[in-house]
């Protein structure tokens, strides 16, 4: 029985040390503040999601057109606005993103 209690005590000590690790490793941090997305970073993240959605929608449209689910007429009517939307999303993210997301980029 004693060995069981000793083992339990050892485990408890190991667990406490592991839980206290962030404080033991960094006893006097310059900042203890939890990372938080700044409003600008949130805006950029929303734009990045919008860009990905717009590019994925274009890809889907191309694929649906090639597989016959979207007629030529519907394709022509939809592809222009969708390209504009994707371009707007890329522009809003800045020139670096435009390059990164371009077909050759």
């Amino acid at each position: 029985m004693h060995w069981a209690l000793v083992l339990a005590a050892v485990l408890a000590v190991v667990a406490v040390v592991f839980v206290a690790r962030p404080f033991l490793r960094d006893p006097a941090p310059a900042s203890d503040r939890l990372d938080e997305l700044a409003p600008e970073a949130r805006r950029r993240l929303a734009l990045a999601e919008e860009r990905d959605r717009a590019l994925a929608a274009l890809k889907e449209l191309e694929f649906d057109h090639r597989t016959g689910k979207v007629s030529d007429e519907d394709y022509r009517a939809q592809v222009g606005p969708m390209r504009r939307r994707a371009a707007e999303a890329l522009r809003a993210l800045g020139p670096a993103e435009e390059l990164r997301s371009s077909p050759g980029g």
């Binding site: 839980v19 404080f23 960094d26 203890d32 597989t67 519907d74």
Partner: protein, 651 residues
């Protein structure tokens, strides 16, 4: 041994309680080290729970009757695999399994997403909130480590649980039930942190799919167990506990579809939160049903003190979900609207409404007897016709939508192009329906409709692969580049097989029953079964009899041996004998009872196409694996998105 198990559980309790309290405070006050420390506590709770589980497994393996739990659920004669399966055969053990899976999932999910600190700061306390309930129950209400002076032998295991399927069915269900905690914890964590972007969806996409797959497979294994072991000739009885597993699966199915609309169109953020909360709370409800003793079911544990606790916790979690979603409504509202009622997203929406409607009607069927008893004091039951009616009402349109959805383009589809893509599947369905009608299948309209709609869905899936292959160049390239879509289609094919199997084996089954003496025969659906007499059997912990039958029909000759086992401690159990006919993909299912001497009462069920249900399980797993398989290109894109998104302003 038991003190070690108790100590491990107390340690887990301390760690999880700390993760809840310190994690919530750290996230609220934005304290980095405290949030990390709470995260570590959640990680450490898993090995502590694992140790407690190992202690119980060792006790079960050794048939250590000083453990009350071991004494209640095993005996010295019980074979080792079944003794170990008693881990989930009783209430305390199954609560421990819940906690083990929860802490395991929690630790892995937290570890994999540890860099996303803002989201994890609130996700950890939500995991801990759920975990704290289970660990509290195990420590203070329903412990598997109660001791007693060792009796001579245990009370044994219910005979129907002594079946190989019981080694896999409950763990699979638990992996599914508990797995739904992961998307719930991340979704609630996202709401608490105010991060309603898609980060939580990206983090939990595969977790949800895995939980949904486990839950689906768990139910199929359970159905097969009921079919071969319980011996009533069926595989699904609309038992409340069976329904309890089906409901979260339906809600998760709806979520898996609607979340795609959020990812592709940025819509349905509120609806997705509602579905995640619904699926999780239904999984808790299922656990409550099994443990409270409020319903009478083959699966449920007897009346126990945990019911009230469970009900209170369920109430807390439902209230928590509703209040949180309500408070965050302004963040969840989106400007994007549905462009057309004829579009892929619209069909997903219709499918969602039907799935949720089916789920809620099943919920009402489960709740009504309980509420009727509680409010009016009248015992009422909701039986098969109620469920069958709603299964036909919602299930058949769902099947149809499953075929229609892939044919419709995203955003909007003109009726002309839809008509063109619709033509081949529609023609296949009409031809199938007409041929079946001519062959006499009109005797059961739901069956005929199920076959016809299945032909429609099957043709639309084949068409999707054929057209996709032509566009992509090869099937491997096609599937490799669109794993979720084509994995989904394979899952749809599994549902088609399931629908055909269910329709065939229920709408067109033949049942015959007759008392036979040796030498007499019975005929059912073209099979003739001749009874020759009884033989006795003996197993490690039972004796029994088998009726000797020879059978012929549809070009096959085979033997069947239905009978009964009488377990020394646990009592009698039916032993069905089944012949799987490779030509019809159906079964000849027999069960026998001794009437007097060697005279038996023989029941025969001929169930056409029933084996497609089990084949569907394999196809379902293949489809799920394809859909879950990581896509390196997509992962790089998402990593770049969140790395860029998380970067400080100005970069």
């Amino acid at each position: 041994m038991a003190p070690l198990g108790r100590a491990a559980l107390l340690l887990a309790f301390g760690l999880i309680a700390y993760a809840l309290v310190a994690g919530s405070y750290g996230a609220w006050r934005r304290r980095r080290r405290l949030a990390l420390s709470a995260q570590n506590a959640l990680l450490a709770a898993f090995p502590a729970t694992l140790l407690a589980s190992i202690v119980l497994l060792v006790a079960l393996g050794r048939r250590d009757m000083t453990f009350v739990y071991v004494w209640q659920h095993t005996s010295h004669e019980l074979p080792l695999p079944y003794a170990l399966s008693a881990f989930w055969g009783g209430q305390e053990g199954s609560l421990l399994l819940w906690l083990l899976v929860l802490t395991g999932y929690g630790a892995l999910a937290v570890w994999l997403n540890r860099r996303s600190r803002e989201l994890m700061a609130w996700t950890v306390p939500v995991f801990a909130l759920v975990g704290s309930f289970f660990v509290f129950m195990l420590c203070f209400v329903s412990s598997p480590f109660h001791m007693q002076p060792a009796p001579v032998d245990g009370q044994g295991m219910v005979p129907s649980l002594q079946n190989p399927y019981m080694l896999a069915h409950p763990p699979m269900l638990y992996l599914g039930y508990v797995g739904l905690t992961v998307p719930f914890a991340f979704a609630m964590g996202a709401l608490l942190s105010g991060r309603t972007d898609e980060r939580w969806i990206v983090a939990t996409r595969r977790w949800t799919l895995a939980a949904w797959t486990f839950l689906g497979i768990g139910q199929l294994l359970g159905s097969h167990w009921a079919y071969v072991e319980i011996g009533w000739g069926g595989y699904y009885a609309w038992d409340p506990v069976e329904n309890a597993a089906l409901m979260p699966w339906l809600a998760a199915t709806a979520f898996l579809h609607s979340v795609m609309i959020q990812e592709k169109r940025g819509m349905l953020k509120i609806w997705n939160m509602v579905l995640v909360a619904l699926a999780f709370n239904l999984s808790l409800f299922g656990t409550f049903l099994t443990r409270s003793g409020v319903i009478d079911s083959i699966h449920s544990f007897s009346q126990s003190p945990v019911g009230g606790w469970f009900l209170a916790f369920l109430g807390v979690m439902v209230a928590f979900s509703i209040v949180l979603i309500y408070l965050r409504l302004p963040l969840l509202r989106t400007k994007t609207k549905l462009e057309s009622l004829v579009s892929r997203e619209a069909t997903f929406l219709y499918n969602n409404l039907l799935l949720v409607a089916l789920c809620l009607t099943i919920l009402w069927g489960v709740l009504y007897p309980v509420l009727s008893d509680a409010v009016r004091g009248q015992t009422r039951s909701v039986s098969k016709p109620y469920y069958d009616f709603f299964l036909h009402t919602f299930g058949l349109p769902l099947l149809f939508l499953m075929g229609l959805g892939p044919l419709v383009a995203w955003r909007r589809a003109s009726l002309r192009s839809l008509g063109k893509t619709f033509l081949i599947p529609f023609a296949a369905a009409v031809a199938t329906g007409a041929a079946l009608l001519a062959l006499g299948f009109g005797s059961a309209w739901p069956g005929l409709l199920a076959y016809t709609f299945s032909a429609f869905v099957g043709a639309s899936i084949v068409l999707e692969f054929v057209r996709g292959r032509a566009a992509a160049g090869s099937v491997f390239r096609l599937v490799g580049r669109n794993r979720r879509r084509y994995g989904g289609y394979v899952v749809h094919a599994a549902v088609v097989l399931l629908a055909i199997g269910i329709a065939g084996s229920s709408a067109y089954q033949t049942v015959r029953e007759r008392t036979l003496q040796p030498g007499q025969s019975l005929t059912a659906a073209g099979y003739t079964l001749t009874y020759h007499g009884l033989t006795s059997v003996k197993g490690p912990n039972y004796t029994g009899f088998r009726a000797q039958l020879t059978a012929s029909g549809h070009g096959e000759r085979f033997n069947l041996n239905p009978g009964m086992n009488d377990y020394q401690i646990e009592g009698p159990s039916n032993e069905a004998s089944i012949y799987h006919d490779p030509r019809t993909l159906g079964d000849v299912f027999t069960k026998a009872q001794i009437v007097k001497g060697d005279k038996i009462d023989l029941q025969v069920f001929v169930k056409p196409l029933v084996n497609l249900i089990w084949v569907a399980g394999f196809v379902f797993v293949i489809g799920s694996i394809i859909a879950m398989w990581p896509d390196a290109v997509e992962q790089r894109r998402l990593a770049a998105r969140y790395a860029a998104g998380a970067a400080p302003a100005g970069i």
